[in-house]
């Protein structure tokens, strides 16, 4: 038997191959295994949390920031807390 060759071009597989070949490098959660970075995730520390907002004040998706789901949840929880205390914006207005 000859080796089976995949003829179909799949978008998902292409993306996977790009990732493996190191297009921009693999994304890594910056909080995993780093207690120092973890201690910054606090609703009072709004200066740090602002790194995880878009220009319009939305929470940056983990797809872009590269956080794992556990830390993304903790992060967004703290951003929402910070918003109720008016330390961070719900939306940024046009100007």
């Amino acid at each position: 038997m000859t080796k089976k060759i995949k003829l179909k071009i799949n978008a998902r597989l292409l993306k996977k191959r790009f990732r493996k070949q190191g297009f921009g490098g693999a994304k890594h959660c910056r909080f995993c295994g780093s207690p120092e970075q973890n201690s910054f995730v606090d609703y009072k520390n709004s200066v740090f949390l602002r790194n995880f907002l878009t220009e319009r004040g939305k929470i940056l998706p983990s797809r872009i920031s590269g956080n794992c789901s556990k830390h993304q949840r903790a992060l967004s929880r703290n951003i929402r807390k910070s918003r109720t205390m008016a330390l961070m914006p719900y939306t940024a207005s046009f100007f």
């Binding site: 606090d42 520390n45 602002r50 220009e55 004040g57 205390m85 330390l87 207005s93 100007f95």
Partner: protein, 142 residues
């Protein structure tokens, strides 16, 4: 023993006497429920991310306390801020602290520490924008 912290946002025109009365009333409420007030700090004046009760500025306070009666003390403190101090306190938030958690924390700079208006959200994210300098006055209502 459970440890809590309360972040309080007060109106900008708060007087020193009112600050003292908040602290004494909070201390009294905590002691009543068999707790101890660990700290009461004034952060200073801040520009709020959005106006609350038509106020663009506010003064933050952070209090830490612990008690052996967990639910009773939080209820008491929340009632104090929401009912008795309703005219002075705009927002309050009581959160639980882990006992092994360090009490050190980081906070943004207040207007009193840095008088320039660099706490604006746009100024630190879009510093290289091509907009004119007076553009941040557009959100002021005339």
């Amino acid at each position: 023993m459970v440890r809590y912290e309360a972040l309080v946002l007060a109106v900008p025109e708060i007087t020193a006497d009112e600050v003292k009365s908040i602290e004494s009333q909070l201390g009294k409420a905590v002691v009543e429920k068999k707790g101890t007030l660990l700290s009461f700090e004034r952060w200073g004046k801040y520009r709020l991310a959005y106006p609350i009760n038509k106020n663009d500025y506010g003064v933050y306070f952070l209090a830490r306390f612990e008690s052996t009666e967990p639910t009773a003390i939080t209820e008491e403190v929340k009632n104090l801020f929401a009912v008795k101090l309703h005219g002075v306190v705009m927002r309050h938030m009581v959160t639980k602290l882990e006992l092994d958690q360090s009490l050190a924390y980081q906070r943004p700079q207040s207007l009193e520490e840095a008088p320039s208006r660099e706490d604006s959200f746009f100024k630190d994210t879009k510093s290289d924008s091509h907009m004119s300098d007076d553009s941040d006055d557009s959100d002021d209502q005339d």
